[in-house]
Amino acid sequence: MSGPLLELRNVWKRFGRYDVLKDLNLSVGKGEIVGLLGPNGSGKTTTLRIAAGYSWSDEGEVLISGESVYPNAPLSRSDVGYLPEKVPLYDPLRVSEYLKFLASVRGLRGQIAKGAVQRVLQAFNLSAVEGRLIGHLSKGFRQRVGLAQALLTQPKILLLDEPTNGLDPGQLVEARDMIRRASEDRAVIFSTHIMQEVSALCTRVVYLLDGNLRSISLVSDWSIGGTIKARVRCNTIDTLLTQISQLSPDIRSERIDQGENIFDIVLDCSSDLRGELSALLVTNGDLLSFQSETLSLERRVLKLLDEKEK
């Protein structure tokens, strides 16, 4: 199938007079991992809840494999694996009991259900704790059990709400591996505040702002600017800095060596100024080193917020 596996089309959601989602559109295809970013209260959880079928939108529709979820919501939910922000677990049950229950209630029977439980137990390294009470598990194991239940029926779509919240660095790496493996043949959306996670995992990033989504490029791209660091030997630094500031006002310089007039120059620019700057530096002194990097994801998000403020 070539179309998107999950599509949110013109979705509106209101809480009282407040529009949380305004005409939101999002489509995710097979093999994609979409990172859903946004400030607290921006509607990330609401978006995932609507996609998972827990919450209903006020307007718009949710399509799974091209078919509208409503009114056959319970039927379509078989295709969706969902891990809410607060992992939904029954503490007095054992890990295997919990997974068996969810396999059965999702319609898997007998050997197929047992096989599905064994598969996720192994995939998430839970075999050693399958007989343990969920209430006695550590946070990392609880998160794994949550992920395991979401993948029990090998759903086409996986929705994860802050899946790595509160995990230690080791558990974080494990969780990322699990999500990456899970995404191979399905569509994944996950919400997070952690930029490194987005960079490490996602094929696409969207930022939820004012109830709608803005795409953020994951590819390093000079079209939105970056930072240039240069070391230069120059006797007329004031003249040089004046000329550079005409290119971009966001400039910092520091003298490194008093005797030889060596300076470090850092320039933040909103477009690709590498050519102009290197020409100025070569003309006005000896260029000792020249490094450039595009904006980090954090800076790109901040830039998006700055644009919104303006």
């Binding site: 809840r49 998972a52 079928g53 827990y54 919450s55 209903w56 006020d58 319970p74 039927l75 379509s76 939910r77 078989s78 969706v80 969902y82 809410p84 607060k86 992992v87 939904p88 677990l89 029954y90 503490d91 007095p92 049950l93 009991e97 229950f101 969810l102 059965s104 209630v105 999702r106 319609g107 029977r109 239940q149």
Partner: protein
């Protein structure tokens, strides 16, 4: 949704009652208290019937059922497992019915245990079994109505204690609703208050008299509370 998925939900509910102490405690307290009151009546009142036992049982059920029903939805909501259940391929109605049937299984167990009293009566005397069977059917209907109210209150609460308190409040309100009739003498409200009151209908029940009106009343309470619970779950989705 298949019958297999539905029965899985019921089994899960039942298992959950017994992996926590709540069902054991409630059943034990009910059996002990109803046994005590039955023995007391036999020893000191010497009535060879179950009317007073049913009367005590109905009050005990009013006290105990909220402890069982409070967890049905309020605990799921507290633990966030309701969010999981409602994203599974099952309908709200199936969820409500599964929880209700599991709750009624526990209630049935409580009533079956109390039937030891009937065995004792049979051993020492010759009771009239008709009113006893009728009384048990009646007390089961009363408990089924209490459970419906409990489930509804749990569906609107996020806290189990609040759910239990609301259930007691509603049950007491419905129990003493006929008192409201005296506030509005010579009005259609007299008829209304008398007919929504548990206590008016239950008096016939514990004597083993099942009239059509009483039957319709209790089945209506059960049906309305379950339909309302389904609607509450749907409203909370949107």
């Amino acid at each position: 949704m298949s019958l297999y998925q539905f029965s899985t939900l019921i089994k899960h509910e039942l298992r959950y009652y017994f992996v926590t102490p709540i069902a054991y405690v409630v059943i034990a307290v009910f059996w002990s208290a109803s046994g005590f009151f039955f023995s007391f009546n036999q020893l000191f009142v010497s009535a060879i019937n179950m009317v007073s036992a049913f009367h005590n049982m109905s009050l005990l059920l009013m006290l105990m059922i909220p402890f069982l029903s409070m967890r049905t939805f309020a605990e799921e909501r507290q633990n966030n497992t309701l969010e999981l259940l409602m994203t599974l391929p099952i309908s709200e109605a199936a969820l409500v019915w599964a929880k209700y049937l599991a709750l009624m299984t526990i209630v049935l167990l409580m009533l079956l245990g109390s039937a030891v009293a009937v065995a004792i009566l049979s051993y020492f005397g010759d009771p009239d079994y008709g009113p006893i069977v009728g009384g048990y059917i009646g007390i089961f209907l009363l408990a089924a109505s209490f459970s419906g109210v409990g489930l509804l209150m749990s569906s609107i609460s996020t806290n189990q204690i609040v759910a239990a308190a609301l259930t007691w409040f509603c049950l007491l309100l419905l129990w003493f609703a006929d008192y409201g009739a005296s506030l509005f003498p010579s009005s259609w409200l007299v008829y209304f208050f008398q007919h929504i009151s548990f206590s008016v209908h239950y008096l016939d029940l514990i004597r083993g008299v099942l009239t059509r009106g009483t039957l319709i009343y209790f089945i209506s309470v059960i049906f309305l509370t379950l339909v309302a619970s389904v609607q509450i779950l749907r409203i909370k989705r949107s």
